[in-house]
Symmetry: C2
Subunit: 321 residues, 2 copies
C-alpha cells in the first residue's frame, strides 16, 4: 500500500520479483485493491495476499503509525516476527516503517536504535555504505558508534569488505571539527575495534574514500537525497548544454541512481527489513525484493547476510554505552 | 596567509582583483613573504601590505584562533572595524574567520550568531542562498530563525528578489518532519514576517524550489561540500563514459561550481566579510575580492549591499528569542 504509486507499482514490482527473479512474495494490504492489481497481471494464483484493514498515510509520524495494529505495515512486520515471511519490504514512510518494525520485530540484543544503510555508488567503481540514512533523526553519540559497527558488519557481509574503513561525516577533516554530536561520536568511534579513518567531509560522500560513512539520520537523509538531486541536476546540465546524447546520459544516470540498488536495509533488528524509495517504480520495487531475499540469506542466493545482523548486533551489545 | 595555497594564490588573486577588476586591495600577512609574492607580479608599488606576525593554521579551532591578537585574521578584521578596509576576504579556516570577525568587527544589533550565505546555482538558471553554510555548527532554533531573516535580506539586496521564498532543509516535506532542532526552527519560521514555503528536502537544494535554504551550519556545510562533490562526480562519470568532450564538460562544471561565485558572505556582522574556499586558486580569490567590494557597497559597483546587513540586523533584533 505504501509509496507514491502504491499499490499499482508495488504489486507490479512483486510480480516482476517473482517471475523474473524467482523471489517468492506475499502481498500485504487491502485485499480487494491488491487482488485487483494482481488480476491485471494474471497473477492471482501465484502470489498470496494477506488482508490489512488499514494503511499508514505517508505524512503520518512514526510514533502514531506504530499504534495502528491492523495496518499493512504492522501485519507485514508481524509476518517476519512469526517466521511466515523471511523479510519485509515497504515503500512507505521511512519513519513509519522504522517504528512498526521496532514494535513488531524488535531490536537485536544491545542495539539502542536501528539505522538505515544505503549503498552509494562511488566513482572508483565500488560502493560505500551510508549509515544512518534516516532511521534515527536524533541519535546519541553511543547510537552513532553502534551505527558504525552495524555499517561495518553490512560492508563485510554484503559488500565483501574484509576490513571496512569507517569515516565520520563532519565539517572538517581534522580531529575535533564538527558539531557537538559529531565531536562526541568521533571520540567513541576512535575507541572502537574497527578501522576508523577519522572525519570525512561532504565532498567525500561519492569519492569512495571510505567503505562506511557514519552520520546521524537527519544529516544522512539530507545527504542521500542531495546526492540524488545533484547527480540528476548535473546530468540535466550536460543534457541542456547539448553536448551528450540524452539516451546515453540516461544510461549513466541509471548506473549511479541509488534507486537502482533497490532500497535501504534497516540494520539492528531481529529480522530483515528493506525500505524502498517512496517514488519507486515497479522495477525498483522488484530490486528491493531481490535485495531483501538476499539479505534474509536464502541458500539459493549464495549469501548469508543475516549473519551481518547477528554479528553486528553482538558487537554492538559489547559497546559500553 | 590563509587557504591551502596561501600566500601564493591569495596574492596572485589580489593582483588580478586590482588589475582586471579595479578592486583596491590591502594585503595582510607576513610582510617578507607577501612582498616576495608581490614582486613576482611586479606589483609592490600597487598594493600596500600590512604586516602580521602570526597566522592561524587551518586546523585551529575558532575559539583558539580568536585569541591570537596579531594574526593576519585579527589584523585584517580590525582594518574593517577601523574603517581603513571596506571589507575583509580570507581563504582561511571558516571557524577561525568567524571567531576573529565576531571579536574584531562585532555582530549587528540583535544578531545572536553570524551565518554564512552561499549562492548555489539552480537548474532554473537563478540562484538560491544556502544559509548557514558553516558559521554556526550548533545553533538554537532562534538563531536559525535569524538565519532565515539574514538570508532573505541577502536574497533581496544581492539577488534582487523582492519577496524571497524561504524553505527549511529537513527530511520530509510535511510539517513536523525533521529532527528536534529543525522541528523547533520550523515553528519559529512559520511565525516570521516572510514567505515561508515550509520544509524542503535534500533533492531540492539545486532545484530552485526556494530562494533561501535555511539550515544549521553543520548540515549546511556538509550539503555545500556534497553539492560540489556530486556535481564533480556526475561530470566525471559522463567523461568516463566517453559520451561528451572533456573540454565542453569543463565549461559546464565551471558554470555550476560554487567557487565560480567567489566565496561565502558572513552575514550578521557590523562589516563585510567574505570567506573563500580553502582550495581557491587565484581566479577564485579575485572573484571573492570583487564580491566583497560589491557587498561593501562601493558606489562604482551600483550596489548598496551593506543595506542587506543593516535591514536584516534590524529585523533580526525584532525577533523574540
Amino acid at each position: 500500500m505504501g509509496g507514491d504509486h502504491g499499490p499499482a507499482e508495488t504489486v507490479a514490482g512483486a510480480v516482476t520479483a517473482l517471475r523474473a527473479h524467482h523471489v517468492p512474495v506475499i502481498l500485504v494490504g487491502d485485499e480487494p485493491q491488491v487482488s485487483g492489481e494482481l488480476r491485471r497481471h494474471g497473477a492471482t494464483a501465484e502470489i498470496p495476499v494477506v488482508h490489512a484493514d488499514d494503511a499508514v498515510p505517508m505524512a503520518e509520524r512514526g510514533a502514531a503509525a506504530a499504534t495502528r495494529a491492523t495496518s499493512s505495515l504492522a501485519i507485514g512486520c508481524r509476518l517476519v516476527s512469526s517466521g511466515e515471511g523471511g523479510a519485509f519490504v515497504s515503500a512507505g514512510s521511512t519513519g513509519a516503517v522504522v517504528a512498526c518494525a521496532v514494535r513488531a520485530i524488535g531490536r537485536s540484543g544491545g542495539v539502542l536504535r536501528p539505522a538505515l544503510a544505503v549503498a552509494l555508488p562511488s566513482l572508483r567503481g565500488g560502493a560505500s555504505v551510508l549509515v544512518d540514512a534516516g532511521a534515527t533523526a536524533d541519535p546519541s553519540p553511543a547510537m552513532m558508534a553502534q551505527f558504525a559497527l552495524l555499517g561495518a558488519g553490512y560492508a563485510r557481509a554484503v559488500l565483501g569488505r574484509a576490513e571496512p574503513v569507517v569515516g565520520l561525516l563532519s565539517i572538517g577533516s581534522e580531529p575535533g571539527k564538527g558539531n557537538r554530536l559529531s565531536c562526541q561520536a568521533e571520540e567513541l568511534l576512535a575507541a572502537l575495534p574497527l578501522r576508523f579513518h577519522g572525519n570525512i567531509e561532504g565532498h567525500d560522500v561519492l569519492s569512495g574514500a571510505v567503505d562506511v560513512i557514519v552520520t546521524d539520520g537527519f544529516t544522512g537523509n539530507v545527504v542521500l537525497k542531495n546526492v540524488e538531486g545533484c547527480v540528476q541536476t548535473a546530468l540535466a546540465m550536460v543534457a541542456e548544454a547539448g553536448i551528450a546524447s540524452p539516451l546515453r546520459l540516461a544510461e549513466v544516470a541509471r548506473r549511479y541512481d541509488p534507486q537502482t540498488h533497490g532500497g535501504a536495509a534497516l540494520l539492528g533488528l531481529r529480522g530483515t527489513v528493506v525500505v524502498a524509495h517512496g517514488s519507486s517504480p515497479a522495477a525498483t520495487i522488484a530490486r528491493a525484493c531481490e535485495m531483501a531475499y538476499a539479505l534474509a540469506g536464502h541458500p539459493a542466493t549464495g549469501m548469508a547476510a543475516t549473519a551481518a545482523t547477528a554479528v553486528t548486533a553482538a558487537t554492538a551489545a559489547e559497546l559500553v554505552t
